[in-house]
C-alpha cells in the first residue's frame, strides 16, 4: 500500500482542484523516483543529483515565481504542498528545493537586476543550474548581523573575502547568492547581496565532513579569497541591509513549516502500518494501549500542524502573512515533526534503526531542520519579542 498522508480533518476539502493535483503529482513522483533510491543515497552520503533535471522539468523549482522566468507560478498553498511531499521523501531533497527556490531564485527575482533574472532564473527553474545561499559564517550563525565576510568597492567592481559555513548545495552550485559586509563589521545596514558565479577565481567550496544528519544533502563551506566581481554582480535592490536575507529566510521558512508536516506524515504512515502488522505477545502491537496513545498523539499533532500551515498559506496568498506567523509555524511544526519521528522510530523497535525504514532517517534529518533557518530558540525569541516588546536576543 503506497503512502496515503494524513487527512483526519478533511483538509482536502479546503484545497482547490489544482492544489490537490499538484500535491498528488509530487506525491507520485516522490513514490516513483525518491523512495526507491533514498535509503541508498543516504548511506552513501550523497545528494541524488540525478533527480534535479526532472524536478526542473516538472516545475518544482521556484514554483511560486512568475511564468515569465520559466517558473510554474503556483499559489503559495500549492508551493507549500510541494515542500510537504518532497520532505515526505527526505528533508535533503526538500532542502535542495527550498534553497534553490526560496534562497536563490527568490532573491534574484526580488532584489536582483533584470539582467540577473534573465541570466539565472530560467536555468535555475529548469534545473540546468544549481544555486546556493551564503549567509552563515563559522562565528556568526544565529546572529548574522555580525558577519565578517567583506565586499570592498574597487574601481569597476567589488572584491569579496570571507568564509561561509553550512551552505546547502555549496559544492555543486553554479551560482552563489552571497551576503557580505560593505561597511564596518556590525553595521547590519551595510550588508549587501551579490550574485557570484562559482567559477569566479578565488571562490572554492569544500564538503562538510562528519555529518550525522541530512546525509542526502550537499552541505559545504564556501571560501572567498579576493574574489573579483564586476559592479553588475551586486543585487541592486539590497539597499536595506540584513532585512533582505531575512526576507529570503521568511520564504524558505514558510516552505519548511510545510515540509515538516510531510516528514511527520511519512513517519506516522510507517508507524501506523507497522503497529497493525507487528505481532508481539500474541497480537499486533497496535492493539496495545501504549502504541495507540503514541499513534493518537502523532495524528493529533500532525493535524494541528497541517491546519496551521494551510491558514498560513492562505494568508501568504492574500499578502497579509507576517514573518512572526512564519516563525511560529516553522518552530511549532519542525518541533512537532522531531517528536513524531522519534516516537515512530521507537514504535518500530529494532527495525526502527534500519535504513530500510524511514523514521530514523527523518529523525536524524529533522535535527538539522530544527537548527537551520533560525533555531527553535531563535524563533521563540522572535515570538517573545512580538508578545512583550522586549528583545531578549
Amino acid at each position: 500500500m503506497s503512502f496515503e498522508g494524513v487527512d483526519f480533518y478533511d483538509v482536502d476539502s479546503l484545497l482547490s482542484e489544482e492544489e490537490r493535483m499538484v500535491r498528488d503529482t509530487i506525491r507520485q513522483w516522490v513514490e516513483d523516483r525518491v523512495m526507491p533510491i533514498i535509503g541508498e543515497a543516504y548511506i552513501q552520503r550523497r545528494f541524488p543529483k540525478e533527480l534535479i533535471p526532472e524536478m526542473g522539468e516538472l516545475g518544482m523549482l521556484g514554483a511560486n515565481l512568475p511564468e515569465e522566468y520559466g517558473c510554474a507560478e503556483l499559489n503559495n498553498v500549492a508551493y507549500g504542498l510541494i515542500n510537504q511531499e518532497l520532505e515526505r521523501g527526505d528533508s535533503g531533497i526538500r532542502s535542495f528545493a527550498s534553497v534553490q527556490g526560496s534562497l536563490v531564485m527568490y532573491p534574484i527575482f526580488a532584489f536582483g537586476s533584470e539582467e540577473h533574472r534573465r541570466e539565472w532564473l530560467p536555468r535555475l527553474a529548469a534545473g540546468e543550474a544549481v544555486g546556493c545561499f551564503g549567509l552563515t559564517e563559522p562565528d556568526y550563525g544565529s546572529n548574522p548581523a555580525g558577519m565578517i565576510t567583506t565586499a570592498r568597492k574597487v574601481d569597476g567592481g567589488w572584491v569579496l573575502n570571507g568564509t561561509k559555513m553550512w551552505i546547502t548545495n555549496g559544492s555543486m552550485a553554479d551560482v552563489a547568492v552571497v551576503w557580505a559586509q560593505t561597511g564596518e563589521q556590525g553595521d547590519a545596514k551595510s550588508i549587501r547581496g551579490f550574485v557570484v558565479p562559482t567559477d569566479t577565481p578565488g571562490f572554492t567550496a569544500t564538503d562538510q565532513k562528519g555529518k550525522l544528519s541530512l546525509l542526502a544533502s550537499d552541505t559545504s563551506e564556501l571560501h572567498m579569497e579576493d574574489v573579483e566581481l564586476p559592479d553588475s554582480a551586486l543585487m541592486p535592490n539590497t539597499t536595506s541591509g540584513l532585512k533582505h536575507p531575512l526576507l529570503c529566510l521568511t520564504q524558505a521558512r514558510y516552505g519548511i513549516a510545510w515540509g515538516a508536516v510531510g516528514s511527520a506524515m511519512a513517519c506516522f504512515d510507517e508507524a501506523r502500518s507497522y503497529a497493525k502488522e507487528r505481532v508481539m505477545f500474541g497480537e499486533p502491537i497496535g492493539a496495545k494501549q501504549i502504541q495507540q496513545v503514541r499513534l493518537a498523539n502523532m495524528m493529533t499533532h500532525i493535524t494541528q500542524a497541517q491546519l496551521m500551515v494551510l491558514q498560513l498559506g492562505r494568508l501568504k496568498d492574500k499578502g497579509t502573512m507576517t514573518p512572526f506567523q512564519v516563525s511560529m509555524a516553522k518552530r511549532a511544526n519542525v518541533s512537532m515533526a522531531t517528536d513524531v519521528a522519534r516516537e515512530a522510530r521507537r514504535l518500530l523497535g529494532g527495525n526502527g534503526i534500519l535504513v530500510e525504514y524511514h523514521s530514523m532517517r527523518h529523525m536524524a534529518n529533522l535535527e538539522s531542520v530544527y537548527t537551520y533557518e533560525g533555531t527553535d530558540d531563535i524563533h521563540a525569541l522572535i515570538l517573545g519579542q512580538t508578545i512583550t516588546g522586549f528583545s531578549a536576543f
Binding site: V22, T25, L58, G59, A72
Partner: protein, 250 residues
C-alpha cells in the same frame, strides 16, 4: 492530424473494493481516490508522443460519465492534451451503450486516430474500443504496445500469446493501447495550471441506454493462510510436491 483519446474515471487500483448494500454495485464511500484508468492514461501518453513526433495536430480527451469526470479530463489536459469533452450521463456495465455514446460524438470529428485503453481498470471488459470501431466502420487494432505512423497508415505492434505481431491499418483507425512503451508522463506543474485554461466542453450524452443487468457482485473468497511445510533441505521434496500437485505452478 488530430487524435482523440477516450478515457474513463475508475477507482484507484489500490482501492480495497467493497460491494454496496444493493449487492450489485461498488460502494463508492469506500473509494478514496479516482484516477484515469491506467491503460487510458497510456493512450493519452501515446497520443501526446504522436503529436510531438509530428509537430502538429491536436489531442482531445473524451469521456462519458458524471460531473466528477471533469477531474480526470483535467488530468489529461494537465499531461498535455489540448481540449476535453465530457459527455454527461450514467455509465453502466453495458459496453455497447458506452460505445454508442462515444461513437455518436466521434462520428462528427476528423480524427485520424482514436485511442483507448485496452480495457478499463474497473470492469475489465475490453469491449468499448472494438465496438466504437464497429459502429464507426473503421479498422481497429487491439492491445497495441507501440505504433508508428507511416504516411496514411499506422503500423502497430501487438502483444500476442508468446510473441509480437506487426499489423498495418489505414487511417482513420481505432487503436486500443496496452502496456509496453507508453509509460505515462507526470503532469508538469505548469501543465496543471494550464489545464484549467484549456477548453473543456460539456454536453449531454446521446443514447446511453443499457441492455445489461448486473445480477450480483462478490469479492473473491479470502485467501487461505500460508502454510509452513518444514525447515531446511528436508522440507524441499514436500515443497516441490505441493508446488507441482496443489499449486500446479511447476
Amino acid at each position: 492530424m488530430n487524435i482523440t483519446v477516450c478515457l474513463k474515471r475508475t477507482p484507484d487500483t489500490e482501492t480495497r473494493i467493497q460491494v454496496a448494500g444493493d449487492g450489485v454495485s461498488i460502494d463508492s464511500a469506500g473509494v478514496k481516490k479516482y484516477i484515469v484508468s491506467p491503460y487510458d492514461e497510456m493512450a493519452v501518453e501515446a497520443a501526446l508522443r504522436t503529436r510531438e513526433a509530428l509537430g502538429s495536430g491536436e489531442v482531445t480527451v473524451l469521456s462519458f460519465g458524471d460531473d466528477a469526470v471533469v477531474e480526470q479530463l483535467r488530468a489529461g489536459l494537465a499531461m498535455g492534451a489540448d481540449a476535453g469533452i465530457l459527455l454527461r450521463g450514467e455509465v453502466t456495465m453495458d459496453g455497447l451503450a458506452t460505445a454508442k455514446v462515444l461513437a455518436a460524438e466521434l462520428e462528427g470529428r476528423d480524427d485520424a486516430l482514436v485511442l483507448l485503453g485496452v480495457k478499463a481498470a474497473d470492469d475489465d471488459q475490453q469491449q468499448v474500443g472494438p465496438m466504437v470501431a464497429t459502429l464507426l466502420g473503421r479498422p481497429c487494432v487491439t492491445a497495441v504496445s507501440s505504433f508508428q505512423l507511416e504516411g496514411d497508415k499506422a503500423v502497430c505492434l501487438r502483444e500476442v500469446e508468446g510473441g509480437m505481431e506487426k499489423v498495418e491499418v489505414p487511417l482513420p483507425a481505432i487503436l486500443t493501447i496496452t502496456k509496453g512503451t507508453f509509460d505515462p508522463r507526470f503532469a508538469s506543474l505548469k501543465g496543471i495550471m494550464a489545464a484549467k485554461r484549456k477548453p473543456l466542453e460539456q454536453k449531454e450524452a446521446q443514447g446511453a441506454e443499457s441492455k445489461l443487468t448486473v445480477r450480483g457482485m462478490a469479492l473473491p473468497p479470502a485467501r487461505p493462510e500460508g502454510r509452513i511445510v518444514g525447515e531446511g533441505a528436508d522440507a524441499v521434496p514436500e515443497l516441490v510436491r505441493l508446488l507441482r500437485e496443489e499449486a500446479k505452478v511447476l
